[in-house]
């Protein structure tokens, strides 16, 4: 749905741009391509990294790891899994829901979902290319801390 809107927006804008100023449109396309080519090495590396990670951590394994009575270990594990995997929300939320039904704790689920969204170890090479090593690492570390703290609070709220 969002992707369709994105495509529609991009194409309408492109069409208007083309009608208004062909030279500018050409520049825009050139810039788009160059920006893409610039991150291509990181994108390719990230793709392979994700392949490794998802092979080792399939949903079955995840359910077992942060299931019913995993406690603090489960919390840490949920954080680690959330940090290194890259699962889109429309898969992650149903997965989280089924884990909850299977008896996982709210804190573990919150930490899993939050780190999944905020922390991206697999996409770090890409982030570093845009923000530099220091800022990228810092953002991820801070986000991990925030995810753990807010999730513990979510756990208390849900009690």
């Amino acid at each position: 749905m969002f992707t369709k809107i994105l495509y529609a927006g991009a194409f309408v804008w492109l069409l208007l741009s083309f009608l208004k100023d062909r030279e500018k449109t050409k520049t825009a396309l050139k810039k788009a391509w160059k920006s893409f080519e610039n991150i291509l090495p990181s994108v390719l590396a990230v793709l392979l990294l994700i392949g490794f990670v998802l092979t080792v951590l399939d949903p079955d394994l995840i359910s077992k790891a942060i299931g019913s009575d995993s406690g603090l270990f489960g919390l840490l594990l949920a954080a680690v899994i959330g940090c290194i995997t890259l699962i889109p929300g429309f898969i992650a939320f149903p997965l989280a829901a089924s884990l909850l039904r299977a008896g996982a704790g709210y804190t573990q689920i919150a930490v899993f979902v939050s780190t999944l969204m905020m922390v991206g170890v697999a996409t770090l090479p890409l982030e570093m290319q845009y923000f530099g090593k220091r800022a990228a690492l810092k953002r991820n570390a801070l986000s991990l801390g925030a995810a753990v703290i807010t999730s513990l609070m979510v756990g208390v709220i849900m009690k």
Binding site: M1, F2, T3, L6, Y7, A10, W13, L14, S17, K24, T25, T27, A28, L29, K30, K31, A32, W33, K34, S35, F36, N38, P41, S42, V43, L44, A45, L48, L49, I50, G51, F52, L54, T55, P88, F90, F93, A96, A97, L100, A110, V113, S114, M117, M118, G120, P125, L126, Y130, G132, A135, K138, R139, L142, S143, A146, I149, T150, V154, M158
Partner: protein
Amino acid sequence: MTVLKRQMKRYALFFLLLVVNAVLLLAAPEVGKESLRMSFAQLTEMLTIIPPVFLLMGLMDVWIPKEVMMKYMGKGAGIRGGVFAFALGSLAAGPLYAAFPMASVFLKKGVSLLNVFLFIGAWSTTKIPMMFFEVTQLGVKFALARFFLNLASIILLAFIMERTTGEKESEAIYQRACAQQKDH
């Protein structure tokens, strides 16, 4: 450095991982195959999201004047700028890696670091379309608790990120953003 050498260096990590995967294919064919399959599945997803994102980036760069972006989200834009950056991120969807190129155009156009980090934080966590989905899957209480707690942490994090980024590093980040569309 020759052009070829420079290109080889850019792709070094990719080649290294490719070798790892090749070794994996030989040592444990099942695992290696599965890993490649996963990479391809992800590739198709990336390929669907990447073209419009970069197209929008290029168009934004050409058509939106720096002054306009600075006025709305630059250093002097104040709270309104923060709200604006936050709203832009929250209305988006799609994976976080799609936010980085957008953020780099923002930087190039003079958007403040604070607002760029607000935008990235919002994009990663408080996406409105995703929250509706989260409500249906995990319940209103859980989704709202997470939403408001994360809202607070995004704002706090953006401030920390901005405050702990020195002038030199900040300069480097802006220059990096400007270099994104240059040739090698």
